[in-house]
């Protein structure tokens, strides 16, 4: 299958009232699972809603498989499956009916075609045994799986999923991650999250956003490499911990006996017996965010 191409050129969004949710962004996405990582309010959802043709950009444009998101909304919608962060489904319908309804909205006019698609996605999302359950009675994880199932109905070439694991228990989170990893084989998946572990488990490449600005675009490996030589680990007393907190970005703090084992990202660590360690994605993420904050503070 030829991979779908997304080209973003100068795309930005300023909401009425002057809130600049996304600064002009340039991006090219071609295949695999692409993660949007950033804290709340960084512009991830705004970007995704614009790609899903639900929000009018203030400037710039994006094309999905050559279709402009402004001019060819209907064509773009035919290419994508979208799962928003906060989504609701009709509580009185059963899982099966909900999917059938979404199939109709996806222009699947033939009942047999819809039924086959519903069976397929229920199987994929492990919902077959829940087919007769009313949507209103599903747990959070089940609802999330149903959300992904509805997004998959048309076997879209582009899947846009906003914060799929937010608010889920660990078991459901792992299940959703597994599902996303499985789905990424033959389509582009654009997944947003503020949970670094989700990116680590599912994504091939990522964009890091902060306050509507792109801080990094590339693979996980490239991001981690940027932090190589800047990740440190040390065991310190509680009192020392408080002193170091003022100076460095901590990526982890664990209790070890009466002392604390800390993980720091910095060029150098003074005042502690720190050892350089292999950086993780979390280190790299916090490093880049910390640098951006320092730059912003300096400016």
């Amino acid at each position: 299958m030829i991979a779908l191409q997304i080209d973003v050129t100068g795309l930005s969004k300023t909401y009425p009232g002057g809130v600049e949710a996304l600064k002009p962004m340039n991006l090219s996405i071609s295949d695999g699972v692409f993660a949007l990582l950033g804290p709340n309010g960084s512009g991830k959802t705004t970007f995704m809603r614009m790609l899903a043709t639900l929000l009018e950009p203030t400037s710039g444009t994006a094309t999905i498989d050559g279709q402009d998101i402004r001019k060819g909304r209907k064509q773009v919608r035919r290419l994508l499956g979208y799962l928003p962060q906060d989504f609701g489904l009709y509580p009185s319908l059963t899982v099966e009916e909900q999917l059938d309804y979404m199939g109709l909205l996806s222009e699947m006019t033939a009942p047999q075609e819809r039924q086959a698609a519903c069976e397929r996605v229920m199987e994929q999302a492990n919902l077959t045994s829940l087919r007769k359950r009313a949507v209103g009675t599903l747990s959070g994880g089940m609802r999330q799986r149903l959300g992904i199932a509805q997004a998959l109905l048309t076997s879209p070439q582009l899947l846009i999923i906003d914060e799929p694991t937010a608010g889920l228990d660990p078991e459901e989170r792992i299940r959703i991650r597994g599902l996303l990893a499985e789905l990424g084989g033959d389509r582009v998946i654009l997944v947003s999250t503020h949970i670094v572990a989700d990116v680590e488990a599912t994504a091939d490449a990522l964009v890091i956003l902060r306050l509507g600005e792109v801080l990094f675009t590339g693979t996980i490996e490239e991001l981690v490499n940027r932090t190589r030589g800047r990740a440190w680990e040390a065991v310190v007393t509680r009192q020392r911990l408080h002193e170091l907190k003022e100076q460095y970005v901590f990526t982890a703090v664990h209790r070890t006996g009466g002392d604390m084992r800390i993980r720091i990202v910095a060029a150098q660590v003074a005042g502690a017996d720190a050892q350089e360690v292999e950086p993780t994605l979390e280190d790299a993420y916090l490093d880049i965010m910390g640098l951006a904050e320092s730059e912003a503070a300096a400016a």
């Binding site: 989504f87 009185s92 309804y101 979404m102 109709l104 996806s106 006019t109």
Partner: protein, 430 residues
């Protein structure tokens, strides 16, 4: 086109299910049905009366507020459950989804109305072992189709455009205003009257298509031509029909029809002859008093708004059984602002006499002011029956005499038949 229609139908079916399924749907249907049954139980147990009450009480007082609540929920459903983005990111056009949802909700309202009518007609069966004819059901149900279409369209589009359920409350206030202050309004504003169907049918469709066009523009930034044109065309058609209806009818305070004014200007007490009548009968043909020259004339007044008065029709049928029909003409005058009611009652009851509707009837607190003929006869109460001799001179006013029962009617007709026709006395004709 066919796949699109199939999708519209399937989506409307889903909407229907979402509106009525589950315990809440069942409770709504049972509640509405129980109200209709209770209303029928408070009235004389004739299926005809129950059929009329089904459309007056069931449609007007039960279904109108209920349907406004349902459409307000349907129009805001995506926002309420938070499914807006999921639905809108689908390629199916949002304006067509809007139409499909309207159709589904409207069908659900009609289904509830069918329950209401059925419960109304069940009452005479349960309490008096009287079966309603299927025609009664069809007529009662039919009388609600366009009023409910209008109210559902207005509420649904209002809530969709305003984005607030208060729009449905405003529509409810409009209906309340019609109910409470009908005395001061021209009938043309009453969307529940069957003669106003073309007006409000066109306006309802115009509202739906216009809002759909707006939805299309909001979603795709393209307005298209067909939808706005169709909406505008229907709006103009509705308004022109309304204008035409007003200028060709006795619809005070907007317009007074000269013929109806002449009808009202005849005074029973000023002449030995009873006032003449020229009004359309149940088949739509003009009936004139002059067509009964040389016959004894029985004139009965009734109104569907006074269910007790409807018993006069059955009494009259009984009274006419043993009278020579060639010498007696009978006319039942219906005082109703809805012009189809008397025709419906005539066909449901298969009455062996002519029925006319006083088309100048207007909702009024005073009986003698409510219709030109009521004014002409200085009608004091309903039902009223007048019997004339062959020269159409008043022989008996049965309501005043207190003989409003079949035997009393037959006796009065017998007395009238015995009066010789005075030579040279004709009836006032038009």
């Amino acid at each position: 086109m066919k796949p699109l229609l199939l999708s519209l139908r399937a989506l409307a079916t889903h909407e229907f299910r979402m509106t009525l399924r589950g315990r809440s749907g069942l409770s709504v249907a049972l509640g509405a049905g129980a109200l209709a049954f209770a209303d029928a139980a408070l009235r004389p147990q004739s299926p005809l009366v129950a059929g009329v009450r089904a459309s007056l009480f069931g449609c007007g007082l039960v279904l109108v507020p209920l349907s406004l609540a349902l459409v307000a929920g349907a129009a805001r459903r995506d926002d309420t459950v938070g499914a807006g983005d999921v639905v809108q990111s689908r390629p199916f056009p949002t304006h067509l989804l809007f139409v499909a949802r309207f159709l589904g909700t409207y069908t659900a309202v009609l289904a509830l109305y069918a329950v209401v009518v059925a419960c109304s007609l069940l009452c005479p069966l349960v309490l008096a072992r009287e079966f309603a004819s299927p025609l009664t059901f069809v007529h009662a149900f039919g009388r609600g189709i366009v009023p409910l279409l209008f109210i559902v369209a207005l509420g649904y589009c209002g809530v969709a455009v305003a984005g607030n359920v208060l729009a449905a409350a405003i529509v409810a206030l409009y209906w309340l205003y019609l109910l409470l202050w009908g005395d001061f309004l021209a009938r043309v504003f009453n969307f529940s009257l069957t003669q106003n169907w073309p007006i409000y049918g066109a306006l309802a469709l115009s509202a739906v298509l216009g809002t759909a066009a707006l939805r299309r523009f909001q979603d795709l930034r393209r307005s298209g031509v067909a939808l706005p044109l169709a909406a505008a065309g229907l709006l103009v058609l509705g308004l022109l029909t309304a204008w035409n209806r007003v200028v060709h009818s006795h619809d005070k305070p907007l317009h007074r029809d000269p013929l109806a004014m002449q009808l009202a200007a005849q005074y029973a007490k000023a002449s030995p002859r009873v006032p003449g009548v020229w009004l359309p009968d149940q088949h739509g043909r003009l009936w004139r008093t002059s067509s009964t020259d040389g016959k004894v004339l029985v004139l009965a007044f009734w109104s569907p708004h006074d269910p007790d008065s409807m018993t006069v029709l059955d009494d009259l049928r009984t009274a006419l059984k043993d009278v020579p029909r060639a010498s007696v003409a009978c006319l039942a005058v219906c005082l109703a602002d809805d012009h189809a009611l008397s025709a419906h009652v005539a066909s449901e009851g298969r009455y062996p006499f002519t029925m006319v509707t006083d088309t100048g009837t207007h909702f009024s607190g005073k009986l003698e002011d409510c219709a030109p003929l009521a004014e002409a006869f200085e009608l004091a109460k309903l039902p009223s029956v007048y019997v004339t001799d062959r020269g159409h001179r008043l022989v008996a006013d049965l309501a005043s005499e207190g003989t409003l029962y079949p035997e009393g009617m037959a006796a009065a007709i017998g007395r009238a038949l015995a009066v010789p026709v005075p030579p040279g006395i004709g009836v006032e004709r038009r």
